[in-house]
Symmetry: C2
Subunit: 525 residues, 2 copies
């Protein structure tokens, strides 16, 4: 192609010649790079940038992609300044007042693949690698992340695509190597309040001597994640080196997984899943397996609770999800087993960090009033994990786990882990504002609505307010008389308290009837 150029020579034109002064804008945009230009800024007016358009900010050879926000307030940025949100400011790594350039930018190249996904196409391993690569470099806006998540919602990803996405998420982060042949982990897909078995399984399995470096997330849509609950007892945000040291000495830990750069794409996706309350099958499998693989696990037990108000409501869905986990897990080279459990009602008594931590410690201390359902579930799971040990005879895991718990060795291990991570003291108390919900009829508890109780606990302030939550006093099968206490709501702050009380007034979520109305679930194992 011959070209004649009557303007400047495009080859030597310097992009971003109009320079602005960098300003740090202290707005936490929650993992989105945002650039702020004043509406009267000459560059904005001249270059015709559009709101929400992609721009590239450059300084000292570094380039950062950001979404443009237009500002009319000189207290945020003046017309001579270019503002960057906290995360983008950190990435450009320049001081305030330094000269920066700004240019039009194209959306990340891999958005074209996302668009193909929206239109129903199947993507390849290379495609998912490209998408994960752009996401981990913060090139996706929140809108683009939402588009990717929704495009892959429910039926959007087939099992090979889930495998590709998982691999891509592992490849774009760090990967731990514990240099042992058996590194175990467990994960529950969630949906059942109070199901804090990890805090029992880890000390039992670690006391048996197996390596179980458990990192957990904070709650996304539930009233408490394992990290939230463990935080009642000990520090959970540990530097990667500290965490490794603890695991080597204690054989286990109960830490928050966010500080290590393990599958960081997952964390970025969660930042959009959370406000959208999205939790699709494909994303769930990719999220769980990428974190575990990156954390160096070789053996993994997945717990899928089933019940009418659990995340998985029918046995056939649980079995199909199990097959999906097995398919992806096998191809990732991880030894994976799936256990399907009773998810018809909350586990233990407490819902919310402080109340759940109390239940866990009662079980570890062999307190006779400890919730037996939590104890039994934990022993069953710990037993299955202990059988990953090549030296343990098949079927003997449960008895070993029970012996470790009953002997007090699990409790001692838990205290050792708490000390190592940094004990929190004094332990926070349940919220002082309480509201009791009583039975209005007599009979037997036939069902408990997991969703409603979880919602009450969240409205009451959990997980941010550690002491907020719900304490359940009657479980399925229990006989009740009119006026008996069904559960108690705890809160600390009046506004939260009011929200929770109002919601409870709409219905207790506890069904009372005759024993034959209790739903039965046939478990395969």
């Amino acid at each position: 192609m011959n070209t004649r150029n009557t303007g400047a020579d495009p080859g030597t034109l310097n992009a971003g010649t109009t320079m602005l002064r960098l300003r740090r804008v202290g707005i936490d945009t929650y993992r989105e790079n945002v650039a702020y230009l004043h509406r009267d800024c000459e560059v904005y007016r001249a270059e015709g940038f559009q709101a929400l358009a992609k721009v590239e900010v450059s300084a000292n050879g570094r380039r950062v992609l950001a979404v443009l926000n237009v500002v009319d307030d000189s207290r945020v940025v003046s017309p001579e300044q270019l503002g960057l949100s906290e995360q983008a400011f950190a990435q450009i790594a320049c001081a305030e007042g330094e000269r920066v350039g700004i240019n039009h930018a194209e959306p990340p190249a891999s958005m074209e693949l996302v668009r193909r996904k929206i239109f129903g196409e199947r993507l390849t391993q290379d495609d998912y690698d490209a998408i994960a690569g752009d996401i981990v470099e913060n090139r996706y806006s929140k809108l683009e992340l939402a588009a990717f998540l929704v495009a892959g919602g429910q039926m959007g990803l087939d099992r090979d695509e889930i495998l590709y996405l998982t691999r891509a998420m592992v490849a774009t982060g760090e990967r731990l190597d514990w240099d042992e042949s058996v590194v175990v982990d467990k994960h529950c897909i969630g949906g059942v309040p109070g199901n804090r078995t990890s805090m029992l399984v880890v000390p039992i399995v670690a006391a048996h001597g197996m390596l179980i470096p458990k990192t957990s997330s904070r709650a996304i849509t539930s009233p408490a994640g394992t990290a939230d609950t463990m935080e009642v007892l000990a520090q959970v945000d540990l530097e990667p080196e500290t965490l490794k040291h603890i695991v080597r000495h204690q054989r286990g830990c109960l830490a928050w997984g966010g500080t290590a750069r393990l599958a960081p794409v997952d964390d970025i996706l969660i930042s959009v899943e959370r406000p959208l309350r999205m939790d699709s099958r494909g994303q769930m499998v990719a999220s769980i397996l990428s974190k575990k693989l990156a954390a160096g696990s070789t053996h993994l037990l997945i717990d899928i609770p089933v019940g009418p108000t659990a995340k998985v409501r029918h046995m056939e869905h649980a079995l199909s999800l199990r097959k999906l986990f097995e398919y992806v897990g096998d191809r990732l080279g991880i030894h994976l087993e799936v256990i399907i459990t009773d998810g018809r009602q909350p586990v233990g008594r407490g819902i919310g960090p402080v109340l759940e931590a109390r239940d866990v410690m009662q079980v570890l201390e062999n307190d006779p009033t400890a919730p037996q359902d939590l104890r039994q579930r934990a022993l069953r799971l710990a037993g299955r994990i202990i059988e990953f040990d090549p030296d343990v005879r098949g079927g003997f895991g449960y008895a070993i786990a029970r012996d470790i718990l009953d002997s007090g060795r699990a409790g001692a291990k838990m205290h050792a882990i708490i000390e190592a991570q940094g004990r929190r003291s004094p332990r926070p108390e349940p919220g002082a504002l309480v509201f009791d919900v009583h039975a209005t009829t007599s009979g037997v508890v036939t069902a408990i609505d997991n969703l409603l109780l979880a919602r009450l606990a969240r409205l009451a302030g959990a997980p941010m307010d550690k002491g907020a939550g719900v304490d359940v006093h009657r479980k399925i099968g229990d006989a009740v008389e009119t006026g008996d206490l069904l559960y108690r709501i705890h809160a600390q702050f009046p506004a939260d308290f009011q929200f929770a009380c109002k919601a409870a007034a709409g219905g207790s979520g506890v069904s009372i009837g005759s024993p034959d109305e209790i739903e039965r679930i046939e478990f395969a194992d």
Copy 2:
């Protein structure tokens, strides 16, 4: 349910008791309500709000839903203030410094329906009414809007759902009534640069005496919309009353549709479609028909251009889209006809507002150098619309349209409309920075890449920079010699210019070969 409440009485607890001082934060969040709290704000710390969570801000009995952003910079908001973005500030309608409350809020109720849509369910008319109702009240965050759009992408909505959505979008806005039995309109689905037939059809049809109150959008993903191009000649952002007055006197107008509250949900959705570059079939049909119905049209002609680089690439897709338009249009009670046209290359010569306005005026002025393809298309479309007139014999429309154009009556009508809307003078010039692209071989032009030429025009600065664009000198079927000028890029600003030139260096987009390589399309009508 008996309740015992040992805290405050939830019935009398006053939500939002912790009051903050309202602050207007001059950030244009582009149709998203955002609330800003300082990280050290007591309410934020105490109530455990999460970033990107929904909050309800209340003052003087008004309530506004917003997305929470956390701020570390007291110049944006101090710990005693609650900031609201421009749009949210306007909605709460309070002065700065007044006391406002903030509370946790649930996502809009209809997001549950969106979630069901994501998971593949079919929604009802009531569902779409609920969604449109929440969107028009600004209860959706950008993320939630993106989720809704992507969930309905391509195969997501069936034809009844598109009908429901269209009805819901009409119902949530104002609706014009022109009090005439025939109110005509036309719409092209786009994808072919330079296709500015509306600016010819309106004066021809209005000169014939039919009512054609044409409102257009600005470009979403193209280098120019009709509103952008008309704006080169006249004011297009007219108050609804002014617009009605002009239409009554001139029988037509060429205005921007954004000032009237016609199908406002569509405008809100477009604010997210634009940065995502989403343009799905269902959204397109709903968007076009809701606007036309709300604008009071009784008769509508839809133009679907087909070509290998047009929006619709195959005749079978055009026919299927035609059926979809007919299905929804019939049920909305609008007389709708669809015409499928040649979309293999740009129409006319200019791409970009100033260059396209020049082409239009050349045709209206019967300039012998005017682009004949633009003239022929406009006559064909205007002819079909004129046949909506019950007094016009079938098949006579084209001749009537040609007579109106050739006699100068269309040109006179256009000048009358320009004067009525407010003439822009002087008319802006094409951008002074020019870059010529020449043929590197001899032969016949066999194809022109609409997408590439549109992209070059956008990179050069169109539509925001009116004079930016591409001027095409050779069209399909034209003979060319090596070195002949194929097209010229115009720009005003060096950075844009450089972007466009760089992109053109990757390939001209004009294919040269032998005449038998030209793609033929069989048109049904």
